[in-house]
């Protein structure tokens, strides 16, 4: 197809979730940059300030969803980029499992970090 360069097989579940997470991430990534670079200067960040923000459940939930959706979007994007490069067969299966494990570990570690910032652990 000439005018449409998508990395994904259109209409598939991974294609759909990549778009749905994109819509959420567009807003929340812009919010994250605004809050932590413009409203609060990055150089002034302290644990107390982070804890105050993460102590609000709405902010905590938004940041945790940010972690999960960004991880999915990133890992799914990498998987598709590698498929575009032509990986197939056992190589593709190995890449898939490495990325799934990496993604799960990142979400697990990110959750621990979020709980530490919230003061729960």
């Amino acid at each position: 197809m000439a005018e449409h360069y998508s990395s994904f097989e259109r209409g598939g579940r991974r294609w759909l979730f990549q778009r749905l997470t994109a819509v959420f991430l567009i807003g929340v990534l812009a919010f994250h940059f605004m809050l932590l670079h413009f409203v609060n200067h990055a150089a002034d960040i302290t644990f107390a300030g982070t804890q105050a923000r993460m102590g609000q459940w709405s902010y905590f939930a938004t940041m945790w969803l940010f972690l999960v959706t960004a991880t999915f979007h990133g890992v799914n994007g990498v998987y598709n980029a590698l498929i575009n490069q032509g990986i197939s067969g056992s190589q593709k299966t190995a890449v898939k499992y490495v990325l799934v494990v990496a993604g799960l570990l990142l979400v697990a570690q990110g959750t621990r970090v979020a709980l530490a910032m919230n003061g729960l652990i």
Binding site: E3, Y5, S6, H37, F47, A48, V113
Partner: protein, 131 residues
């Protein structure tokens, strides 16, 4: 039915001089995506200092922010994130079939707007005390 053109595959990067705007958009989106996913893992690693206590977290973040090279890297990260967001909106529009005839112009608009936002943000990113 729209007319189709055979421009070859974008993976064949040796032909870069022949690439059209849409192909460059695809490459830039891929590149910025790789940077962002790499940064995501790095970001969680740095924030993991919160597990070692308040002092370690605050000192690590403020220590990093005191380095000029980190400030410049953050400007680079902003450029990458803004382009990925703007081109991502463009891709969603393309997927919805909105403005297909202007997809090349919207790519150039993404680039120009990214440049403008990044330049306007430089004073904020480089301001504040350094080591």
């Amino acid at each position: 039915m729209s007319q189709s053109y055979n421009r070859g595959t974008v993976e064949d990067f040796g032909r870069w001089r022949e690439f059209s705007a849409g192909m460059w958009a695809w490459i830039f989106h891929k590149f910025t995506g790789w940077v962002l996913v790499g940064y995501l893992f790095t970001h969680i690693a740095v924030l993991s200092t919160s597990l070692g206590g308040a002092e370690l977290y605050t000192n690590t973040l403020q220590g990093l922010e005191a380095l000029l090279v980190v400030r410049f890297l953050e400007v680079g990260l902003l450029a990458v994130a803004v382009f990925h967001i703007l081109n991502g909106i463009r891709l969603l529009m393309v997927d919805l079939g909105v403005g297909l005839e202007a997809q090349d112009k919207s790519f150039y608009a993404s680039l120009v707007l990214t440049g403008a936002i990044v330049v306007a943000s430089i004073p904020t990113f480089l301001g504040g005390p350094l080591a």
